[in-house]
Amino acid sequence: MRVLLRERRTGMKKCGRCSKPAMLHITEIRHGEVQALHLCESCAKEYLNESEAGGPPSDEDLSSAEGAEAPESGESEDDDESPVCPHCGISFKEFRKQGRLGCPHDYTAFHDELMPLLENIHGETQHVGKVPKRAPKASQHQFRLIRLRNRLKAAVDEEMYEEAARLRDEIQNLEAEAGSPGAASQ
Protein backbone atom coordinates (compact mmCIF):
# COMPACT_ATOMS: atom_id res chain seq x y z
CA MET A 1 0.00 0.00 0.00
CA ARG A 2 1.18 3.46 -0.81
CA VAL A 3 0.10 6.93 0.14
CA LEU A 4 1.11 9.96 -1.87
CA LEU A 5 0.55 13.47 -0.61
CA ARG A 6 1.35 16.45 -2.71
CA GLU A 7 1.67 20.00 -1.57
CA ARG A 8 2.49 22.94 -3.77
CA ARG A 9 4.41 25.86 -2.34
CA THR A 10 7.46 27.87 -3.23
CA GLY A 11 10.27 28.03 -0.74
CA MET A 12 14.00 27.94 -0.42
CA LYS A 13 14.38 24.27 -1.24
CA LYS A 14 15.91 23.11 -4.50
CA CYS A 15 14.64 20.30 -6.65
CA GLY A 16 16.13 16.95 -5.65
CA ARG A 17 16.67 15.91 -9.27
CA CYS A 18 17.88 19.08 -10.96
CA SER A 19 18.80 22.53 -9.64
CA LYS A 20 15.56 24.44 -10.27
CA PRO A 21 13.59 25.64 -7.22
CA ALA A 22 11.31 22.96 -5.78
CA MET A 23 7.60 23.61 -6.27
CA LEU A 24 6.05 20.33 -5.24
CA HIS A 25 6.60 18.70 -1.91
CA ILE A 26 5.66 15.09 -2.00
CA THR A 27 5.28 12.87 1.00
CA GLU A 28 5.27 9.27 0.04
CA ILE A 29 4.51 6.42 2.36
CA ARG A 30 5.30 3.01 1.00
CA HIS A 31 5.15 -0.06 3.20
CA GLY A 32 5.40 2.11 6.29
CA GLU A 33 8.48 4.04 5.11
CA VAL A 34 8.05 7.78 4.87
CA GLN A 35 9.95 9.59 2.18
CA ALA A 36 9.83 13.34 1.56
CA LEU A 37 10.62 14.59 -1.93
CA HIS A 38 11.10 18.15 -3.07
CA LEU A 39 10.82 18.54 -6.82
CA CYS A 40 10.47 21.24 -9.46
CA GLU A 41 7.41 21.31 -11.68
CA SER A 42 8.83 19.23 -14.53
CA CYS A 43 10.65 16.65 -12.42
CA ALA A 44 7.53 16.27 -10.27
CA LYS A 45 5.42 15.64 -13.34
CA GLU A 46 7.85 13.00 -14.49
CA TYR A 47 7.99 11.45 -11.05
CA LEU A 48 4.22 11.31 -10.62
CA ASN A 49 3.77 9.81 -14.07
CA GLU A 50 6.32 7.16 -13.30
CA SER A 51 4.74 6.22 -10.03
CA GLU A 52 1.05 6.68 -10.72
CA ALA A 53 0.45 6.11 -14.41
CA GLY A 54 -2.99 7.63 -13.86
CA GLY A 55 -4.45 4.29 -12.81
CA PRO A 56 -7.13 3.44 -10.26
CA PRO A 57 -6.50 4.01 -6.53
CA SER A 58 -4.84 0.78 -5.70
CA ASP A 59 -2.81 0.33 -8.81
CA GLU A 60 0.06 -0.81 -6.69
CA ASP A 61 -2.06 -3.56 -5.16
CA LEU A 62 -3.07 -4.69 -8.61
CA SER A 63 0.42 -4.53 -10.02
CA SER A 64 2.06 -6.28 -7.12
CA ALA A 65 -0.18 -9.27 -7.74
CA GLU A 66 0.64 -8.95 -11.38
CA GLY A 67 4.34 -9.09 -10.75
CA ALA A 68 4.50 -12.86 -10.71
CA GLU A 69 3.31 -13.16 -14.29
CA ALA A 70 4.81 -10.00 -15.67
CA PRO A 71 7.83 -11.52 -17.46
CA GLU A 72 5.57 -13.58 -19.70
CA SER A 73 3.41 -10.67 -20.81
CA GLY A 74 4.02 -9.07 -24.15
CA GLU A 75 4.11 -12.36 -26.01
CA SER A 76 1.25 -12.61 -28.43
CA GLU A 77 0.42 -16.22 -27.68
CA ASP A 78 -0.53 -15.19 -24.14
CA ASP A 79 -3.58 -13.47 -25.56
CA ASP A 80 -5.03 -16.84 -26.47
CA GLU A 81 -4.42 -18.18 -23.00
CA SER A 82 -5.83 -15.19 -21.14
CA PRO A 83 -9.37 -16.18 -20.12
CA VAL A 84 -12.25 -14.26 -21.69
CA CYS A 85 -15.63 -13.53 -20.11
CA PRO A 86 -18.35 -15.08 -22.28
CA HIS A 87 -20.79 -12.30 -21.31
CA CYS A 88 -18.91 -9.07 -21.98
CA GLY A 89 -15.95 -10.35 -24.00
CA ILE A 90 -13.24 -8.74 -21.85
CA SER A 91 -10.08 -10.79 -21.39
CA PHE A 92 -8.29 -11.00 -18.08
CA LYS A 93 -5.35 -9.34 -19.72
CA GLU A 94 -7.45 -6.34 -20.75
CA PHE A 95 -8.71 -6.05 -17.20
CA ARG A 96 -5.10 -6.06 -16.00
CA LYS A 97 -4.28 -3.24 -18.34
CA GLN A 98 -7.16 -0.94 -17.41
CA GLY A 99 -7.87 -2.04 -13.84
CA ARG A 100 -11.61 -2.19 -14.43
CA LEU A 101 -13.70 -5.27 -15.03
CA GLY A 102 -16.23 -5.46 -17.85
CA CYS A 103 -19.31 -6.92 -16.16
CA PRO A 104 -20.45 -8.66 -12.96
CA HIS A 105 -19.95 -12.09 -14.60
CA ASP A 106 -16.20 -11.47 -14.75
CA TYR A 107 -15.98 -12.41 -11.11
CA THR A 108 -17.06 -15.93 -12.13
CA ALA A 109 -15.17 -16.06 -15.42
CA PHE A 110 -11.90 -14.93 -13.80
CA HIS A 111 -12.53 -16.53 -10.42
CA ASP A 112 -9.19 -18.32 -10.17
CA GLU A 113 -7.21 -15.30 -11.32
CA LEU A 114 -9.10 -12.81 -9.13
CA MET A 115 -8.96 -14.66 -5.83
CA PRO A 116 -5.25 -14.05 -5.13
CA LEU A 117 -5.77 -10.43 -6.15
CA LEU A 118 -8.70 -9.98 -3.74
CA GLU A 119 -6.78 -11.70 -0.98
CA ASN A 120 -3.96 -9.26 -1.61
CA ILE A 121 -6.19 -6.15 -1.63
CA HIS A 122 -8.62 -6.99 1.16
CA GLY A 123 -6.93 -9.72 3.13
CA GLU A 124 -10.21 -11.67 2.98
CA THR A 125 -12.24 -13.45 0.34
CA GLN A 126 -15.66 -13.88 1.96
CA HIS A 127 -18.27 -11.11 2.11
CA VAL A 128 -19.75 -10.61 5.58
CA GLY A 129 -21.62 -7.34 5.14
CA LYS A 130 -25.05 -6.32 4.00
CA VAL A 131 -27.12 -8.65 1.81
CA PRO A 132 -29.84 -7.53 -0.59
CA LYS A 133 -33.23 -8.12 1.05
CA ARG A 134 -34.38 -9.77 -2.15
CA ALA A 135 -31.77 -12.50 -1.87
CA PRO A 136 -33.31 -15.96 -1.49
CA LYS A 137 -34.28 -16.97 2.06
CA ALA A 138 -31.69 -19.75 2.19
CA SER A 139 -28.81 -17.41 1.44
CA GLN A 140 -30.17 -14.78 3.87
CA HIS A 141 -29.89 -17.50 6.47
CA GLN A 142 -26.42 -18.44 5.31
CA PHE A 143 -25.36 -14.82 5.59
CA ARG A 144 -26.67 -14.38 9.08
CA LEU A 145 -24.51 -17.34 10.04
CA ILE A 146 -21.45 -15.90 8.30
CA ARG A 147 -21.96 -12.56 10.01
CA LEU A 148 -22.47 -14.13 13.40
CA ARG A 149 -19.34 -16.27 13.04
CA ASN A 150 -17.43 -13.16 12.02
CA ARG A 151 -18.68 -11.30 15.11
CA LEU A 152 -17.86 -14.28 17.29
CA LYS A 153 -14.29 -14.23 16.02
CA ALA A 154 -14.05 -10.50 16.75
CA ALA A 155 -15.53 -10.95 20.23
CA VAL A 156 -12.99 -13.67 21.06
CA ASP A 157 -10.16 -11.50 19.70
CA GLU A 158 -11.29 -8.63 21.91
CA GLU A 159 -11.71 -10.97 24.88
CA MET A 160 -15.40 -10.14 25.22
CA TYR A 161 -16.31 -13.60 26.39
CA GLU A 162 -19.88 -12.92 27.52
CA GLU A 163 -20.69 -11.54 24.09
CA ALA A 164 -18.89 -14.51 22.53
CA ALA A 165 -20.97 -17.01 24.53
CA ARG A 166 -24.18 -15.26 23.49
CA LEU A 167 -23.13 -15.32 19.84
CA ARG A 168 -22.19 -18.98 20.03
CA ASP A 169 -25.69 -19.82 21.33
CA GLU A 170 -27.27 -17.77 18.57
CA ILE A 171 -25.19 -19.58 15.95
CA GLN A 172 -26.14 -22.97 17.36
CA ASN A 173 -29.83 -22.07 17.31
CA LEU A 174 -29.59 -20.86 13.76
CA GLU A 175 -27.75 -23.99 12.67
CA ALA A 176 -30.40 -26.17 14.30
CA GLU A 177 -33.11 -24.17 12.55
CA ALA A 178 -31.40 -24.62 9.20
CA GLY A 179 -31.21 -28.34 9.78
CA SER A 180 -34.97 -28.64 10.51
CA PRO A 181 -37.23 -29.67 7.62
CA GLY A 182 -39.42 -26.56 8.01
CA ALA A 183 -36.59 -24.15 7.29
CA ALA A 184 -35.24 -26.18 4.39
CA SER A 185 -38.52 -26.05 2.49
CA GLN A 186 -38.46 -22.26 2.41
Binding site: M1, V3, L4, L5, R6, E7, R8, R9, T27, I29, G32, V34, E52, P56, P57, S58, D61, L62, H87, C88, I90, Q98, G99, R100, L101, G102, C103, P104, Y107, T108, L114, L117, L118, I121, H122, G123, E124, T125, Q126, H127, V128, G129, K130, V131, P132, K133, R134, A135, S139, Q142, F143, R147, N150, R151, A154
Partner: protein, 354 residues
Protein backbone atom coordinates in the same frame (compact mmCIF):
# COMPACT_ATOMS: atom_id res chain seq x y z
CA UNK B 1 -32.22 22.61 -10.58
CA UNK B 2 -30.84 26.03 -11.24
CA UNK B 3 -27.21 25.77 -10.27
CA UNK B 4 -27.06 29.53 -9.70
CA UNK B 5 -29.21 29.10 -6.60
CA UNK B 6 -26.46 26.97 -5.09
CA UNK B 7 -23.86 29.69 -5.54
CA UNK B 8 -25.37 31.61 -2.63
CA UNK B 9 -24.86 28.82 -0.11
CA UNK B 10 -21.88 26.74 0.86
CA UNK B 11 -23.38 23.25 1.08
CA UNK B 12 -23.59 20.64 3.80
CA UNK B 13 -19.92 19.82 4.21
CA UNK B 14 -18.97 23.41 4.98
CA UNK B 15 -21.86 24.15 7.30
CA UNK B 16 -19.54 23.70 10.32
CA UNK B 17 -22.27 22.67 12.71
CA UNK B 18 -21.82 18.98 13.51
CA UNK B 19 -19.92 17.39 16.42
CA UNK B 20 -16.19 18.24 16.56
CA UNK B 21 -16.59 20.49 13.52
CA UNK B 22 -13.58 22.58 14.57
CA UNK B 23 -11.46 19.74 13.17
CA UNK B 24 -13.81 17.34 11.41
CA UNK B 25 -15.14 19.22 8.39
CA UNK B 26 -17.43 16.45 7.21
CA UNK B 27 -18.27 12.76 7.40
CA UNK B 28 -19.18 10.82 4.33
CA UNK B 29 -20.21 7.30 3.37
CA UNK B 30 -20.54 6.05 -0.17
CA UNK B 31 -21.81 2.77 -1.53
CA UNK B 32 -21.00 1.33 -4.96
CA UNK B 33 -23.75 -0.73 -6.61
CA UNK B 34 -24.29 -2.25 -10.03
CA UNK B 35 -27.27 -3.70 -11.80
CA UNK B 36 -27.02 -7.43 -12.51
CA UNK B 37 -26.99 -8.39 -16.19
CA UNK B 38 -25.57 -5.11 -17.47
CA UNK B 39 -21.91 -4.51 -18.31
CA UNK B 40 -20.18 -1.92 -16.11
CA UNK B 41 -20.28 1.67 -17.49
CA UNK B 42 -16.76 1.65 -18.95
CA UNK B 43 -17.63 -1.35 -21.11
CA UNK B 44 -21.28 -0.53 -21.82
CA UNK B 45 -22.50 0.59 -25.24
CA UNK B 46 -24.35 3.90 -25.52
CA UNK B 47 -27.68 2.12 -25.62
CA UNK B 48 -26.89 0.08 -22.50
CA UNK B 49 -25.71 3.21 -20.72
CA UNK B 50 -28.92 5.03 -21.49
CA UNK B 51 -31.00 2.06 -20.44
CA UNK B 52 -29.17 1.93 -17.09
CA UNK B 53 -29.57 5.68 -16.76
CA UNK B 54 -33.30 5.57 -17.52
CA UNK B 55 -33.81 2.80 -14.98
CA UNK B 56 -31.88 4.40 -12.14
CA UNK B 57 -33.15 7.87 -12.93
CA UNK B 58 -36.65 6.43 -12.46
CA UNK B 59 -35.70 5.18 -8.99
CA UNK B 60 -34.15 8.50 -8.07
CA UNK B 61 -37.39 10.23 -9.09
CA UNK B 62 -39.30 8.07 -6.58
CA UNK B 63 -37.59 9.81 -3.64
CA UNK B 64 -35.88 6.73 -2.14
CA UNK B 65 -36.28 6.58 1.66
CA UNK B 66 -38.22 9.84 1.52
CA UNK B 67 -35.26 11.78 0.10
CA UNK B 68 -36.47 14.25 -2.48
CA UNK B 69 -33.80 14.45 -5.13
CA UNK B 70 -33.24 16.71 -8.10
CA UNK B 71 -31.80 14.94 -11.10
CA UNK B 72 -29.13 16.62 -13.21
CA UNK B 73 -28.09 15.12 -16.49
CA UNK B 74 -24.34 15.60 -16.39
CA UNK B 75 -23.74 15.08 -20.12
CA UNK B 76 -26.04 18.04 -20.79
CA UNK B 77 -24.08 20.40 -18.50
CA UNK B 78 -21.29 22.73 -19.54
CA UNK B 79 -17.76 22.13 -18.27
CA UNK B 80 -18.00 25.05 -15.84
CA UNK B 81 -21.16 23.67 -14.23
CA UNK B 82 -19.65 20.23 -13.93
CA UNK B 83 -16.55 21.73 -12.31
CA UNK B 84 -18.82 23.66 -9.98
CA UNK B 85 -20.45 20.42 -8.80
CA UNK B 86 -17.03 18.81 -8.30
CA UNK B 87 -15.90 21.75 -6.15
CA UNK B 88 -19.00 21.28 -4.00
CA UNK B 89 -18.19 17.57 -3.70
CA UNK B 90 -21.58 16.68 -5.15
CA UNK B 91 -20.05 14.70 -7.99
CA UNK B 92 -16.69 13.04 -8.50
CA UNK B 93 -14.10 14.11 -11.03
CA UNK B 94 -14.67 10.76 -12.69
CA UNK B 95 -18.37 11.50 -13.27
CA UNK B 96 -17.52 14.98 -14.48
CA UNK B 97 -14.93 13.77 -16.96
CA UNK B 98 -16.59 10.54 -18.12
CA UNK B 99 -18.48 10.42 -21.38
CA UNK B 100 -21.94 9.27 -22.40
CA UNK B 101 -25.25 9.33 -20.59
CA UNK B 102 -24.79 9.94 -16.89
CA UNK B 103 -26.30 11.97 -14.12
CA UNK B 104 -26.70 12.74 -10.45
CA UNK B 105 -29.59 13.03 -8.02
CA UNK B 106 -28.98 15.70 -5.37
CA UNK B 107 -30.98 16.53 -2.24
CA UNK B 108 -31.81 20.22 -1.63
CA UNK B 109 -29.60 20.23 1.50
CA UNK B 110 -26.77 18.85 -0.66
CA UNK B 111 -26.19 15.98 1.75
CA UNK B 112 -27.28 13.17 -0.56
CA UNK B 113 -25.86 12.57 -4.00
CA UNK B 114 -26.61 9.55 -6.16
CA UNK B 115 -24.37 9.29 -9.21
CA UNK B 116 -25.43 7.24 -12.21
CA UNK B 117 -22.93 5.72 -14.65
CA UNK B 118 -19.82 6.72 -12.78
CA UNK B 119 -17.22 3.93 -12.44
CA UNK B 120 -20.14 1.78 -11.28
CA UNK B 121 -23.78 2.05 -12.33
CA UNK B 122 -24.71 3.64 -9.04
CA UNK B 123 -22.53 5.50 -6.58
CA UNK B 124 -24.50 6.77 -3.61
CA UNK B 125 -23.12 9.12 -1.03
CA UNK B 126 -24.43 10.73 2.12
CA UNK B 127 -22.61 13.64 3.71
CA UNK B 128 -22.84 15.29 7.11
CA UNK B 129 -21.17 18.31 8.59
CA UNK B 130 -18.87 17.36 11.49
CA UNK B 131 -18.20 13.91 12.91
CA UNK B 132 -21.47 12.05 12.27
CA UNK B 133 -20.82 8.70 10.59
CA UNK B 134 -23.77 6.90 12.23
CA UNK B 135 -26.21 9.39 10.71
CA UNK B 136 -24.57 8.92 7.31
CA UNK B 137 -24.88 5.15 7.56
CA UNK B 138 -28.52 5.22 8.69
CA UNK B 139 -29.48 7.38 5.71
CA UNK B 140 -27.49 5.63 3.04
CA UNK B 141 -28.56 2.19 4.25
CA UNK B 142 -32.21 3.23 3.92
CA UNK B 143 -31.70 4.72 0.46
CA UNK B 144 -29.89 1.55 -0.62
CA UNK B 145 -32.77 -0.61 0.69
CA UNK B 146 -35.35 1.50 -1.13
CA UNK B 147 -33.56 1.24 -4.48
CA UNK B 148 -32.77 -2.42 -3.99
CA UNK B 149 -36.47 -3.18 -3.55
CA UNK B 150 -37.01 -2.17 -7.18
CA UNK B 151 -33.86 -3.27 -9.03
CA UNK B 152 -31.64 -6.34 -8.94
CA UNK B 153 -28.12 -5.54 -7.83
CA UNK B 154 -25.13 -7.58 -9.01
CA UNK B 155 -24.38 -9.62 -5.89
CA UNK B 156 -22.52 -12.82 -5.13
CA UNK B 157 -22.73 -14.91 -1.98
CA UNK B 158 -19.00 -15.11 -1.70
CA UNK B 159 -17.95 -11.66 -2.89
CA UNK B 160 -20.92 -9.48 -1.95
CA UNK B 161 -21.76 -6.48 -4.13
CA UNK B 162 -19.87 -6.76 -7.41
CA UNK B 163 -18.08 -3.65 -8.60
CA UNK B 164 -16.13 -2.53 -11.67
CA UNK B 165 -12.93 -2.33 -9.67
CA UNK B 166 -12.03 -5.27 -7.40
CA UNK B 167 -10.87 -2.77 -4.76
CA UNK B 168 -14.53 -1.97 -3.98
CA UNK B 169 -16.06 -5.43 -4.05
CA UNK B 170 -17.90 -6.81 -1.01
CA UNK B 171 -19.60 -4.01 0.87
CA UNK B 172 -18.81 -1.41 -1.81
CA UNK B 173 -18.41 1.00 1.08
CA UNK B 174 -16.06 3.93 1.46
CA UNK B 175 -16.27 5.60 4.86
CA UNK B 176 -14.39 8.87 5.12
CA UNK B 177 -13.89 11.88 7.30
CA UNK B 178 -12.41 15.16 6.13
CA UNK B 179 -10.07 16.56 8.79
CA UNK B 180 -8.41 19.93 9.15
CA UNK B 181 -5.00 19.27 10.74
CA UNK B 182 -2.88 22.43 10.58
CA UNK B 183 -1.25 21.81 13.96
CA UNK B 184 0.00 18.36 13.06
CA UNK B 185 1.24 19.65 9.71
CA UNK B 186 3.06 22.58 11.29
CA UNK B 187 4.82 20.39 13.84
CA UNK B 188 5.47 17.68 11.23
CA UNK B 189 3.77 15.19 13.52
CA UNK B 190 1.37 14.40 10.68
CA UNK B 191 3.68 11.77 9.24
CA UNK B 192 3.42 9.72 12.40
CA UNK B 193 -0.34 9.87 12.06
CA UNK B 194 -0.15 8.67 8.45
CA UNK B 195 2.04 5.75 9.41
CA UNK B 196 -0.25 4.74 12.25
CA UNK B 197 -3.31 4.95 10.00
CA UNK B 198 -1.64 2.93 7.32
CA UNK B 199 -0.91 0.18 9.81
CA UNK B 200 -4.61 -0.25 10.52
CA UNK B 201 -5.50 -0.27 6.83
CA UNK B 202 -6.77 3.30 6.46
CA UNK B 203 -5.91 5.56 3.54
CA UNK B 204 -5.06 9.27 3.66
CA UNK B 205 -5.97 11.46 0.72
CA UNK B 206 -6.19 15.13 -0.13
CA UNK B 207 -9.29 17.30 -0.20
CA UNK B 208 -10.72 16.09 -3.49
CA UNK B 209 -10.01 12.41 -3.02
CA UNK B 210 -7.75 10.12 -4.95
CA UNK B 211 -4.57 11.69 -6.19
CA UNK B 212 -5.56 15.20 -5.14
CA UNK B 213 -3.20 17.53 -3.35
CA UNK B 214 -3.27 17.98 0.36
CA UNK B 215 -4.55 21.54 0.06
CA UNK B 216 -4.88 23.79 3.06
CA UNK B 217 -4.02 21.07 5.58
CA UNK B 218 -7.17 19.11 4.77
CA UNK B 219 -6.91 15.34 4.79
CA UNK B 220 -9.45 12.66 4.03
CA UNK B 221 -9.17 9.47 6.01
CA UNK B 222 -10.95 6.42 4.67
CA UNK B 223 -11.04 2.64 4.67
CA UNK B 224 -9.18 0.67 2.02
CA UNK B 225 -10.53 -2.87 2.29
CA UNK B 226 -14.20 -3.44 1.49
CA UNK B 227 -14.39 -7.23 1.61
CA UNK B 228 -14.44 -9.50 4.65
CA UNK B 229 -15.67 -6.94 7.16
CA UNK B 230 -19.21 -5.75 7.79
CA UNK B 231 -20.21 -2.14 7.16
CA UNK B 232 -20.52 -1.63 10.91
CA UNK B 233 -17.01 -2.95 11.53
CA UNK B 234 -15.54 -0.70 8.85
CA UNK B 235 -17.36 2.34 10.26
CA UNK B 236 -16.22 1.42 13.76
CA UNK B 237 -12.55 1.33 12.71
CA UNK B 238 -12.78 4.95 11.58
CA UNK B 239 -15.00 6.00 14.47
CA UNK B 240 -12.48 4.57 16.94
CA UNK B 241 -9.42 6.19 15.41
CA UNK B 242 -10.73 9.71 14.72
CA UNK B 243 -10.99 10.78 18.40
CA UNK B 244 -7.29 9.92 18.80
CA UNK B 245 -6.34 12.12 15.88
CA UNK B 246 -8.54 14.93 17.21
CA UNK B 247 -6.92 14.67 20.63
CA UNK B 248 -3.48 14.70 19.03
CA UNK B 249 -4.27 17.76 16.91
CA UNK B 250 -5.74 19.59 19.93
CA UNK B 251 -2.75 18.72 22.08
CA UNK B 252 -0.31 19.95 19.45
CA UNK B 253 -2.31 23.16 19.03
CA UNK B 254 -2.36 23.93 22.72
CA UNK B 255 1.38 23.24 22.99
CA UNK B 256 1.94 25.60 20.07
CA UNK B 257 -0.09 28.29 21.80
CA UNK B 258 1.67 27.81 25.14
CA UNK B 259 5.20 27.69 23.83
CA UNK B 260 4.97 29.95 20.88
CA UNK B 261 1.92 32.10 21.26
CA UNK B 262 3.49 35.20 19.77
CA UNK B 263 4.80 33.43 16.68
CA UNK B 264 1.52 31.68 16.10
CA UNK B 265 -0.49 34.83 16.66
CA UNK B 266 1.79 36.62 14.23
CA UNK B 267 1.42 33.90 11.62
CA UNK B 268 -2.37 33.68 11.69
CA UNK B 269 -2.70 37.46 11.78
CA UNK B 270 -0.40 37.86 8.79
CA UNK B 271 -2.45 35.25 6.94
CA UNK B 272 -5.57 37.27 7.65
CA UNK B 273 -3.77 40.46 6.64
CA UNK B 274 -2.75 38.98 3.31
CA UNK B 275 -6.27 37.80 2.64
CA UNK B 276 -7.68 41.22 3.52
CA UNK B 277 -5.29 43.21 1.39
CA UNK B 278 -4.11 41.07 -1.52
CA UNK B 279 -4.88 42.33 -5.02
CA UNK B 280 -4.34 39.02 -6.73
CA UNK B 281 -4.29 35.58 -5.20
CA UNK B 282 -4.29 31.98 -6.45
CA UNK B 283 -6.76 29.44 -5.09
CA UNK B 284 -3.89 27.46 -3.57
CA UNK B 285 -2.52 30.41 -1.67
CA UNK B 286 -6.06 31.23 -0.59
CA UNK B 287 -6.52 27.72 0.78
CA UNK B 288 -3.23 27.91 2.59
CA UNK B 289 -4.03 31.27 4.22
CA UNK B 290 -7.61 30.34 5.04
CA UNK B 291 -6.30 27.23 6.75
CA UNK B 292 -4.08 29.36 9.02
CA UNK B 293 -6.90 31.76 9.78
CA UNK B 294 -9.27 28.88 10.50
CA UNK B 295 -6.86 27.57 13.11
CA UNK B 296 -6.45 31.10 14.50
CA UNK B 297 -10.20 31.37 15.04
CA UNK B 298 -10.39 27.94 16.66
CA UNK B 299 -7.56 28.88 19.04
CA UNK B 300 -9.15 32.18 19.97
CA UNK B 301 -6.33 34.20 18.40
CA UNK B 302 -8.65 35.79 15.85
CA UNK B 303 -11.92 37.16 17.17
CA UNK B 304 -13.64 39.24 14.53
CA UNK B 305 -14.36 36.40 12.14
CA UNK B 306 -16.57 33.32 12.26
CA UNK B 307 -15.95 29.81 10.96
CA UNK B 308 -19.01 29.73 8.66
CA UNK B 309 -17.75 32.89 6.90
CA UNK B 310 -14.39 31.26 6.45
CA UNK B 311 -15.88 28.00 5.19
CA UNK B 312 -17.91 29.97 2.69
CA UNK B 313 -14.69 31.52 1.42
CA UNK B 314 -13.12 28.08 1.03
CA UNK B 315 -15.75 27.13 -1.50
CA UNK B 316 -16.59 30.47 -3.10
CA UNK B 317 -12.98 31.23 -4.02
CA UNK B 318 -12.54 28.07 -6.07
CA UNK B 319 -12.29 28.61 -9.83
CA UNK B 320 -15.74 27.46 -11.01
CA UNK B 321 -17.54 29.07 -8.05
CA UNK B 322 -15.82 32.37 -8.60
CA UNK B 323 -16.80 32.39 -12.26
CA UNK B 324 -20.38 31.49 -11.50
CA UNK B 325 -20.61 34.19 -8.82
CA UNK B 326 -19.27 36.73 -11.30
CA UNK B 327 -21.43 35.40 -14.13
CA UNK B 328 -18.46 35.43 -16.44
CA UNK B 329 -15.68 33.25 -17.67
CA UNK B 330 -12.21 34.29 -16.59
CA UNK B 331 -8.67 33.21 -17.28
CA UNK B 332 -6.33 32.46 -14.39
CA UNK B 333 -4.94 35.98 -14.07
CA UNK B 334 -8.40 37.56 -14.09
CA UNK B 335 -9.60 34.99 -11.60
CA UNK B 336 -6.71 35.77 -9.25
CA UNK B 337 -7.70 39.44 -9.24
CA UNK B 338 -11.42 38.67 -8.92
CA UNK B 339 -10.68 36.26 -6.07
CA UNK B 340 -8.70 38.89 -4.18
CA UNK B 341 -11.56 41.37 -4.70
CA UNK B 342 -14.13 38.92 -3.45
CA UNK B 343 -12.16 37.96 -0.33
CA UNK B 344 -11.35 41.58 0.50
CA UNK B 345 -14.99 42.52 0.26
CA UNK B 346 -16.16 39.55 2.31
CA UNK B 347 -13.60 40.14 5.07
CA UNK B 348 -13.85 43.89 5.40
CA UNK B 349 -17.63 44.24 5.27
CA UNK B 350 -19.03 42.93 8.56
CA UNK B 351 -20.86 39.62 8.02
CA UNK B 352 -24.59 40.04 7.55
CA UNK B 353 -26.82 38.76 10.33
CA UNK B 354 -27.23 35.03 9.77
Amino acid sequence: MDLDILTHTSGEWLRATGPDSDIVMSSRIRLARNLAEFPFPSRASDSVRSEVERLLRGEIAKSPAGKKLQYLQIDALETLDRQFLVERQLISRELSENHGQRGVGISPEENVSLMVNEEDHLRMQVLRSGFALDDCWRDIDAIDDAIESAVTYAFSEQLGYLTACPTNVGTGIRVSVLLHLPGLVMTKEIQKVFQALQKIGLAVRGLYGEGSQAMGDFYQISNQATLGKSEEQIIKTIKDVVPNILAYERKVRSTLVQENRQNLHDQVSRALGNLKHARQISSEETMHLLSSVRMGINLGLIHDLEIPTLNELFIHTQPAHLQKLRHERMETAERNAARADYIRQRLTVPPSAN
